[in-house]
């Protein structure tokens, strides 16, 4: 039963070594995310939620504790295997979009396929399909700086989807967008979650955005202080 979780952390600790000594960031985080879940992670700045996301994304390693991603214990993997997980199992969406400025939209979306060893014609074909899916059919040869922020974030989502990942990690994906565009982007995530069954983990500051998720995890000072229903938690937050 536990083995079919997409993400499972066991007594996860993380501390950064600074000149002033070790600073604990995550403290005994135990979390299980099952396939098809849509989880919003909230918490004040410095609560460890970004660090947690980096660990989930295999961009950083925990100081101690276990992290099982898609059935494999990350601590036992070498660098190339971690790169393969980032390439195939995880799709990243960042706050700042993080597209390559010199590459056009198709090339940006197809980039993960380069590292997966897919041939050029196939790469272009699949990238164009995904651009169509996020509603950017006519822009495929544009450079990222020729389109709006919302459109750039759609491109980033298309890139995250290109290797059909099991898990999408979105780190404040609407942080740079206006409310209307934010809602459009969130609808794309909801669609991916409900229609394609992709597990989505989302970090956000904004309660409005978090309401799109089904489950809410709140971090305070490196600990999980709430894990459960979205609306009740957010309603509590509405109180003074």
């Amino acid at each position: 039963m536990a083995s079919d979780a997409v993400v499972r952390t066991e007594h996860l600790y993380k501390q950064y070594d600074t000149e002033a000594g070790p600073v604990p960031v995550l403290y005994d985080v135990n979390l299980e995310i099952r396939p098809g879940e849509f989880v919003a992670i909230m918490g004040p700045s410095g609560s460890g939620k970004s660090t947690f996301m980096n660990i989930l994304g295999c961009l950083d390693l925990p100081t101690s504790g276990g992290y099982i991603l898609d059935g494999s214990d990350v601590s036992t993997l070498d660098k190339d295997q971690l790169a393969r997980l980032r390439n195939k199992v995880i799709g990243f969406v960042f706050q700042g979009y993080n597209l390559l400025p010199r590459a056009n939209l198709v090339e940006n979306v197809a980039l993960p396929l380069v590292y997966a060893g897919v041939a050029r014609a196939e790469r272009t074909h699949r990238a164009e399909e995904l651009l169509a899916k996020v509603g950017l059919t006519t822009h495929s040869r544009y450079a990222p700086n020729q389109i709006s922020g919302g459109q750039q974030q759609r491109v980033a989502i298309a890139r995250a989807l290109i290797n059909t990942p099991r898990l999408i990690l979105a780190d404040e994906p609407t942080g740079n967008l206006d409310t209307k565009t934010s809602i459009e982007i969130m609808k794309v995530f909801v669609e991916l979650n409900q229609h394609d069954g992709i597990t989505v983990v989302l970090v956000t500051h904004e309660p409005d955005i978090a309401t799109f998720a089904k489950r809410l995890v709140r971090f305070v000072d490196g600990c999980v202080t709430h894990d459960g229903n979205v609306s009740r938690e957010l309603m509590e937050e509405e109180k003074p």
């Binding site: 950083d60 190339d80 980032r86 390439n87 195939k88 993080n98 980039l111």
Partner: protein, 406 residues
């Protein structure tokens, strides 16, 4: 995969055209300098080697001694202490392969309405063996010509050109110091000697003919110098000792007296010159290599800047699944493309400059495939070597640090 990487590397360079060009320029100048210097060095070496080959191998020249008369010292060869008999005796030594006595002089040559002043060397048929100098037309004189003192002559090509133009001189009769000589052969062109003299501007006659009929001397049978060829390079020191001993004995020199002759090892002199040229050639190459090194450091510098500038890009690539190896390959490819393009242009520039130097300044140049290959391989190696550190630095960036980099 490699295709995609090459494409990306090419685009990355295109994004910063001026910078890429300047980096390549360092490489171009380095490679061009190496090619140019190697061409000039090898050209000089080629000239020296040719002169040495034209001289003959393992050669001694034995000069008759100097003399002092009333406090005035005359130079080597002033006193006719050597004779054809000395030459015959030296030829008997086991370390000596061939000996040719030479009685030289200068004479005016006349054929029809043309005349020409040149060196006339009285010698034996062995001379041509010792000097490794074949006949191109007609035939050489023989030992019986030497015994009989016949009036026959072998002409060098410069003499032929000046007396006969394009006509065939073999079988014609020329006059040397008024005496008629039958031209029996023409020698192959030999070109310049190490000292820049035209070796083809000479006429060869039997030594006896020269002694008796051209340059009469009060010492019958005397020769100015003797050319002797040792059987091998290793035998040369022994040959020199034996010849000295033999000549002292033949000249009845007392124990304490100085030699009345002078043995010079021509091959050693030539080898010294060849060595000098070789060292010069290496020096030129080494100096040029420094510019190649500087070009390489230029590549490293630019690649380091490039890696720093593109830290965020590297972070993105890592986040979407690039392995260390992929990042390393990407940046290494950029360095290699820069150095290879710089190198190709450098080869063209270097060869062009060498040809130009040859045409305009008459500098001898030799461009070999090997020297071009060498410059090319060294440049590629420089690209890889200096590209590796920045590429490796890029590949080892921590993903979160790279992504956070502004």
């Amino acid at each position: 995969m490699t295709g995609a990487m090459l494409y990306e590397a090419w685009h990355a360079m295109g994004a910063n055209r001026l910078r890429s060009f300047l980096t390549m320029l360092g490489m171009m100048i380095g490679v061009a300098a190496v090619i140019m210097m190697l061409a000039v060095g090898q050209g000089a070496q080629f000239m020296v080697d040719q002169s040495i080959a034209s001289m003959g191998s393992n050669l001694f020249i034995i000069l008759s001694g100097s003399s002092t008369s009333g406090g005035v010292r005359l130079g080597s060869g002033a006193t006719p202490t050597l004779t054809t008999g000395d030459g015959e005796a030296i030829a008997e030594l086991s370390t000596i392969a061939a000996v040719a006595p030479v009685a030289p002089g200068t004479a005016q040559l006349v054929y029809a309405s043309n005349n020409w002043s040149t060196a006339v060397l009285g010698t034996t048929p062995r001379y041509l063996d010792v000097r490794d100098w074949p006949i191109s037309a007609g035939y050489a004189f023989t030992d019986s010509d030497v015994r009989a003192g016949t009036r026959v002559a072998l002409l060098g090509v410069t003499v032929v050109r000046n007396l006969f133009g394009d006509d065939n001189p073999v079988g014609r009769t020329i006059r040397i110091k008024q005496s008629p000589f039958l031209v029996i052969g023409v020698l192959q062109a030999k070109g310049q000697s190490l000292t820049g003299q035209d070796q083809d501007d000479a006429v060869f006659v039997p030594v006896t003919t020269a002694q008796r009929k051209l340059f009469g001397s009060q010492f019958p049978g005397s020769v100015r110098f003797i050319m002797a060829q040792a059987i091998s390079a290793q035998a040369m020191p022994a040959a020199e000792r034996e010849m000295t001993q033999l000549l002292r004995q033949r000249h009845h020199l007392p124990e304490r007296a100085d030699n009345d002759f002078d043995i010079r090892n021509l091959t050693a002199l030539a080898n010294a010159q060849a060595e000098t040229t070789r060292v010069m050639s290496i020096m030129l190459g080494a100096i040029a290599s420094v510019s190649l090194l500087v070009g390489g450091i230029g590549i490293m510098n630019i690649m380091l800047v490039s890696v720093t500038e593109r830290t965020r890009e590297i972070g993105i690539r890592i986040a979407i699944g690039a392995r260390e190896r992929d990042i390393l390959t990407q940046f290494l490819l950029e360095a290699i493309i820069i150095s290879v393009i710089g190198c190709v242009v450098g080869v063209i520039l270097g060869v062009g400059a060498a040809v130009l130097a040859n045409v305009l300044a008459k500098v001898a140049v030799v461009i070999t495939g090997a020297s071009v290959m060498l410059a090319f391989l060294v440049a590629a190696a420089v690209g890889i070597f200096f590209g590796f550190y920045p590429a490796n630095k890029a590949a080892r960036l921590k993903p979160i640090d790279a992504l956070r980099y502004q």
